[in-house]
Amino acid sequence: MNSEVIIYSTGVLLLLGSVFGIALAVSSKFLKVEEDPKIRKIADILPNINCGACGFAGCSSYAEAIVLKHAKPNLCMPGGEKTSKKIAELMGMAPDSIEKKVAVIHCCGGGIGKKKYDYSGVKDCRIINMVAGGSVECGYGCLMGYACLLSCPVRAIEKNENMMPYVIREKCIGCGRCVNTCPRNLIELADTAKKVHILCSSRDKGAEVIKVCNVGCIGCGKCAQACPFDAIKIVNNLAVIDYSKCRVCGKCVEVCPVKVIYDWRKEFTLPGKQGKKDPKK
């Protein structure tokens, strides 16, 4: 091989390398963009799971928004009180209180309710919901396609023995991703302090509810009468708790004839096949 080729090519490469190297060095000195060091610090404080609960695209864009656009420091749900305090300290803001939220699935009968047809297509409840109005007779109940379960960034939703999804409250960070995925709008973000929930969303009349599911709210109104704080109302055949009035006394839990009101301070299991009559029989 010709030695000239080697010399020339090495020379050209060396020349190019040094020219670009110098250009980069110069531009890094003069064209430098100053980033506020606080952004990096805040991003380190944030949990970095990019859940989106704060309303920004991810943790780093929330950090940027705090520093540049003066976003509130208490928007990070998974971080909670601790994170909010740290950020407020760093930014010299007054620490705001943060209400910790938890997702509640307002249905407990999806697995035991009456089936409309055997579904054998895509296992995604958003799609099941489009096939002749869902695979369960109840027009409001869970379809058990687990879109919520897959959307959860921290795997806080699991299936119980009845294949019904439920939220593990200790794990839930209250980001609200599952709320938007549910095709039947069964999931709600509630205050962690409010520990009593009605696990049914059926707005059908009582007689129709009993036909298709034995753990459905029949709108009898017993809970509304029992409530000493006037927090429960029957709206469209469905009992709804006004959480601003509820003081978590638990009286409604005892009177409910179909047992769809649950108190999270007590031990309980969601309805399963055991001990319940099969509604098909």
Binding site: K116, Y117, G121, V122, D124, R126, I127, A132, G133
Partner: protein, 446 residues
Amino acid sequence: MKAKITFKGGIHPSENKNLCAEMAIKDFPPPDIAVLPLQQSLGAPAEPVVKPGDKVRKGTLIARSKGLISSNLHSPVSGEIIAVRKSPHPLLGEANAIIVRSDKTDEAEKDYTGGNFSIDNINPGEVLELVQNAGIVGLGGAAFPSHVKLNPPPDKAVKTFIINGAECEPYLTADHSLMLESADLILKGALIIKKMLKAEKCLIAIEDNKKDAISLLRQKLASMDNAEGFEILSLKVKYPQGAEKQLIYALTGKKVPSGGLPMDVSVLVHNISTVFAIYEAVYLKKPLFERIVTVSGKGIKNPANWRVRIGTSFKTLINHSGLTEKKIKKLIMGGPMMGLAQYTDEVPVLKATSGILVLTDEEAADFEHLPCIRCGKCVEVCPMGLMPAEISKMVERGRIDAAKGIGLLDCMECGSCNYICPSGTNLLQYIKLGKYEYMRKKNAKR
């Protein structure tokens, strides 16, 4: 011989048309109870003009169209209206329907045989009114009211009128049998539309697997008056050859713009059975209360093409045809590619029901859904030139707007991508979900 006319992409599913091909159309007895959903066509549901207790005859108007895109509904049997109530609907799950109990006399509102119409001094307004009164909708499956299609705005004159006799869906032979039975009447119907729209050309497009229909129509055309501008074309056998935009491209080389209608390229497409229904409406003044339905599938003992009254329940048809011993997997309205699976056989025949298929385990086998391997086969076969894998992935992740950007709404749901996918991914299901979510968002904004 000239290269066969076709479009780009597409698939070759097994046809299974031999189950009831070339079978003469048989008349199905009128049902005892007819269930007539008010929503028969695209657009707004019709408004009932009768109340329970009213006596009706075959062909009596029972619901009037409401709004621009809507169609009239006529009683298919003579008898008494017993209720207007919610009942199963093949497309919507549940919808309001008029229920008629037959008195078994089958007395018609008027005589529907031997009509009269002079083709030479045709009045477009009169024809349009006849078609609208007869409640004719596109019988190919989409059920778009025909009178709307026949009345293009003045700035979009129709130059080419295409009659779609492709019938590319496997199993279905309803159009084929109709062509064999009433070729001359179809040509008469075609002449009405060609004259009223003053179209230059009338192309009758038939897939090459129906050679007998092609030669019969050519023969009839040769002996017809006013035959100038008519042409019968043989198309390559490929799915979805009968899709409107693909058919227009195959025959004229014109591309309908995204979101546009065939009239944007001065073309009008009608299904062959719609043309026949228009003939009946104009010549015989007969409203649309019966249609040809293919009852087929390997679960059916005697597959056949029936002339069925609208409102007959699937159950009656299936019981009449008999079931085989084989294990039944699915009941489908329409063809196997684009039809909809039904959860009950209580649903009635609609104006848009071209077929009822009872599929067995071997025909509708479940398969494993594996992840996408990015082989690109779906892109190759997509007749609209989209990227189904990308669109469905975006919808799955909830990025509806991004999916819309790469053609979510251009998809016509032919299912070629799902058919060809070696991994058995659920491309079309997610694309349908995307359209549903998009419409939901759009309606919520209003």
